[in-house]
Symmetry: C2
Subunit: 252 residues, 2 copies
């Protein structure tokens, strides 16, 4: 297996899913947010659906979703190096041909995937506006994943909506400070927000992550705010829900 890896890479294990995934601190490592999004997304169990993961990074979301569905999953990732890592992780887990990766810009998604044909789109996009320079990472790989240098909320929503069939579902993970913009951009792109879940690092802390479901051409009614997802207890241990996502359910 080692010859599959470049020098700065390592293989991490997502214990709960029995998956191996190639990571690299110098180009991309998935965060808890990706795990939360993969858990939040509802996908059809059968094999007849079509699932697209935009801004796929090292492919972590597609890999996890493959454990919840028999439908094909296609990730789209702009950065060649990351798309290549994802491809090798797919092979390592023997998940081809269910899971595949396209190396390209999400704006070109319609070149490969038929419009109005997709059941579920997931996306863990860059969180920070390109104008927010203060926190920009000098490492270009990491900067592209974190800052809206090559895409932005408008494009993410437009591409998502274009791919989805009517009543298809979109799932996003993002930051609370952009919630208003996310809701507006979804609405402007025919994605009706349906479920919102707030992730709080601890019980007394402000939310630092949001999970949101939208339905293409969905009705305006029936919007819900799901139970709070609290990550750590007061002793900085994962609470059971998150622990199960990472390490599987305890047997007792």
């Amino acid at each position: 297996m080692d010859q599959l890896l470049q020098s700065d890479e390592r293989v991490d294990r997502i214990i709960s899913q029995n998956l191996d995934i190639i990571q690299s601190p110098s180009v991309f490592s998935f965060s808890l947010d990706a795990i939360l999004l993969a858990d939040f997304a509802q996908v059809p169990k059968h094999h007849k659906g079509k699932i697209i993961d935009l801004c796929a990074g090292n492919g972590v979301i597609g890999l996890i979703l493959s454990q919840k569905t028999k439908s094909p999953i296609i990730g789209i990732e702009l950065q060649k190096r990351l798309a290549n890592m994802a491809e090798r992780s797919i092979q390592m887990n023997h998940l081809e041909p269910q899971v595949s990766i396209i190396n390209g810009a999400i704006g070109d998604a319609a070149d490969w995937i038929k419009k109005d044909s997709v059941d579920v789109v997931t996306c863990n996009p860059p969180y920070f506006a390109a104008t927010e320079k203060s926190t920009r990472n000098p490492n270009q790989h990491l900067a592209i994943a974190r800052h809206e240098l090559h895409t932005n909320l408008d494009e993410v929503m437009k591409v998502t909506s274009g791919l989805l069939k009517m009543n298809g579902k979109a799932y996003f993970v993002h930051r609370p400070d952009r919630l208003l913009e996310i809701l507006e951009t979804m609405k402007a792109n025919r994605l009706a927000p349906k479920k919102l879940r707030f992730v709080y690092p601890k019980i007394g802390k402000e939310a630092n992550t949001i999970l949101i479901e939208g339905i293409k051409d969905g009705k305006d009614t029936g919007f819900r705010v799901l139970p709070p997802l609290i990550v750590y207890d007061d002793g900085n241990q994962y609470l059971p829900e998150v622990s199960a996502m990472l390490f599987g359910k305890e047997n007792d």
Copy 2:
């Protein structure tokens, strides 16, 4: 004190605030939501502000706010019977002239209160659209308080914005299923949403109440989702934060 009361009325005590309040099961009793809103609202401590409580009901929010500020507080309540109850509660607590009640429609607020002059507006409005008939209470007093029969979100936001001075603050309590509409209506009326707090009945339950702060002509940035407010523990006992709002802080 008894001769102050009509036959269907009783006096309840808000222990945490040392306040007595006239209630009536047949016309209006305040809910926990009013307590949560009064707690959530940030008011200037000094006496130079101006605070308006729209849809004041039996005046509970104004009464509680009087314990947090020296500024005058004016409630506006459409229903004569409720405004009268509020007035008697104000007298009972010797809070005149700091707290007063106007019996009238919020749409006429500008007849009594100068536009662009108010520091803080609070409002616990009717939650249900007039078209939602299923849950409408046959009792007209209760129906007006619960359903948008005589006002609606548009008017609440328009009146709030009209009263507030620039950078004045608005505080609302409402239901999560109307969050999207609330955010849109706020924005359409120059109220920038700034803080959102979700109230969950228990840790594993969906939010059933939202608290939201808006700032008139505020910037688009700096939106925050505050720590979750969880009402009951698994044994249906109030958790400490809510218990303190109702009964005061424990001494230990």
